[in-house]
């Protein structure tokens, strides 16, 4: 791109400026058609359809298991009428169409069935387990975004710096060391050697009494109960797992941010701003505005990674969330609990993807369906 004399504004420059202005939807007050106003319906509908597919998948997974799930979970102790009764109570009698009907009716009432292993309703178990895991994932995502943003900014603005090169190498190592190896290493250093971290067993110090559950989010409940000791204990037990997650997964986010920021820096729009003498702050703001949509999409992907990582870290740190529930269910051959686990995880991920999709489309209106000039 050639740099023009700033005071000679020719038609091409003016056209470029108008194009840039058109990209900032907040600045334009163009009338929109109904289809453009309801752009969010399509992704939302798609998400609902995908969740329904997972309902079917989770149903047929149980159908496909070799052998009878009730027999294998009870170790073959039941027989005859008792077995029939047990099968009846788990909705395993009749043709598969009837079974599917039973399953869908149950789901419509938000009833995830009963766990074979514990006899408790699965929905009740999940209601206490999911918030605990989400707390871990939330703090992990928040810290990872903050760390990645700072790191990527530093790398992009200090290309020749030695430290930046070191950080680039770290970003390049994305996914080389799994979170369980980092987790064990951190346990060794910060718990066994330095005694900084609390013992990796549970969320709460054994001497403390858990505050009454209101939201099932441990830290929120401690706050509601006004119990600073419990809150501090909950937070302390979360520090190490969260740090492990951030160390293990932020290289991916840093990597994506660097690529996107580099693209945004090379964008003609940035050169135009630099050439027309905009302040450094304006230029940076414009760069971030351009790089942000893809970063948000990566964040959605990271949610899935963190959820998978939480499963592993919970069993290492004994945090007792959704992941440990799933592992216990596997060991007890509890297919009904696992089926609901799959469904709930898939639904959570799909909803998060929908949210990131919508946020991306809000940030960059060109990505919406039915917007003119989508190929731009």
């Amino acid at each position: 791109m050639t740099v023009r004399e700033p005071d000679i504004v020719d038609d091409a420059t003016r056209a470029e400026a108008e194009r840039l202005a058109a990209l900032d939807t907040s600045l334009t007050t163009r009338r929109r058609s109904v289809r453009e106003r309801l752009w969010f319906l399509r992704p939302a509908g798609l998400t609902v359809a995908n969740v329904l597919v997972f309902v079917l998948v989770s149903f047929f997974l149980v159908q496909l298991i070799p052998g009878d799930p009730v027999v294998s979970a009870t170790g073959g102790r039941l027989s005859g009428a008792e077995l029939e009764q047990a099968r009846e109570s788990y909705g395993l009698t009749g043709s598969w169409i009837q079974q599917l009907g039973t399953y869908l009716t149950q789901l419509a009432h938000l009833d995830f069935g009963t766990s074979i292993a514990t006899g408790r309703p699965v929905a009740q178990d999940l209601a206490t387990r999911v918030p605990a895991t989400l707390e871990l994932v939330f703090w992990g995502l928040l810290l990872a975004s903050a760390v990645s943003l700072v790191t990527a900014h530093f790398i992009v603005t200090h290309r020749r710096n030695r430290f930046a090169k070191l950080l680039t190498a770290y970003a390049r190592s994305a996914g080389a060391l799994p979170e369980y190896v980092i987790g064990i290493a951190f346990l060794f250093v910060f718990y066994a050697e330095l005694h900084w971290a609390p013992a990796p067993s549970g969320r709460l110090d054994p001497l403390l009494i858990a505050p009454p559950t209101v939201t099932n989010f441990p830290m929120v409940d401690a706050l509601i109960a006004g119990d600073p000791a419990a809150f501090a204990s909950y937070a302390q037990h979360l520090v190490l797992p969260v740090v492990v997650m951030v160390v293990a997964h932020s290289p991916l986010l840093i990597k994506m941010l660097i690529v996107n920021l580099d693209q945004a820096i090379d964008d003609p729009a940035t050169r135009f701003r630099v050439a027309s003498g905009a302040s450094r702050r304006t230029v940076l703001a414009s760069i971030y505005r351009r790089a942000l949509p893809s970063a948000v999409a990566t964040l959605g992907m990271l949610f899935g990674l963190f959820l998978g990582g939480a499963v592993v870290l919970e069993s290492l740190f004994g945090l007792g969330g959704l992941g440990q529930y799933a592992v216990d269910a596997v060991n007890a051959s509890d297919v009904f609990a696992l089926r609901s686990f799959l469904l709930v995880t898939a639904a959570m991920c799909l909803v998060i993807y929908l949210v990131t999709d919508i946020v991306t489309m809000l940030l960059d209106s060109r990505r919406r369906a039915g917007v003119a000039g989508k190929d731009a």
Binding site: R172, A176, I184, F188, S315, L316, A326, V330
Partner: protein
Amino acid sequence: MALDTPTALPEPTTTGAGSTRSTQDGRVGRPAGRTGFVLRLVPFAVLVVLAVVGPYLVNHPATSVVGGQSEAPSGEFWFGTDANGLDVYSRVMTAFRLDIVIAICITVIATVVAIVIGLVSGMYQGDRTVLGFVARLLGRAVDLVQSIPVMIAGLVIVSFFGRNAVVITLALAIVLIPFQARLMRTEVLRTRSDGYVDAARMSGESELRLLLGHVLPNSARTTIENTSTIFGMAIIFCAALGFLGVGIPTPTAEWGTMLAAGAPDAAVGRWWPVLFPAAALGLSVWSASVLVAAFVGRSRV
């Protein structure tokens, strides 16, 4: 293995990604000279040799109790013993074969299936025929499988169909297919509209020859490059399943189960039961990325 195919591919890709790749960074581009190329083959060669001879390098039986609990490394037990009194050195060495074979199988299956899916869904997704419908269905299926975390999908499949090497291999191959299939589809979509494909079609070549002779060689490059990532993920997720206790059942030597068994030891300051399997894991992941880098040049950030 499928990993050595890139040698046949590089020359025709002159458009798009091929030309921008070398301008990104000083170190990007052709590997530096012949010795550099050979040096980069060494780690993976060592890995393959260890996979072949590893089980014979042991000095104790890998699956039986041979010493006291959690003994530090010594002349008798080179890497120490774990909490059950099993010899860590023998188990790490024995596990090379199992873990590497599983990872290679996962990589090959996932890549081959993904290339087929990518070709079909990329070429025909716009068609209004049965094939077009199948192509769109495959595309959707790939997106759906990728929407659940690998770890969770693997855990569920393995727990439903049994804890053995075959199920683990197939389960992880299925959940890793989307990563490769998406890359392939993107490349096929790009290649599909190239002139030589139209030329071949007009010259009356059959659709199959068109796919295998023109589209495949010109679109497989990024997918083949990505095999190192897939191999690394296969190693990591296979060990993660073992770590969760749903992998290859104990007492078979496997790095993931060794890490799980060693974690309580590490928490009280005994580092040897986890350091060595973790190092073996890291070596495997690293050597695969070096191997592919030898053929295609260093990957950019």
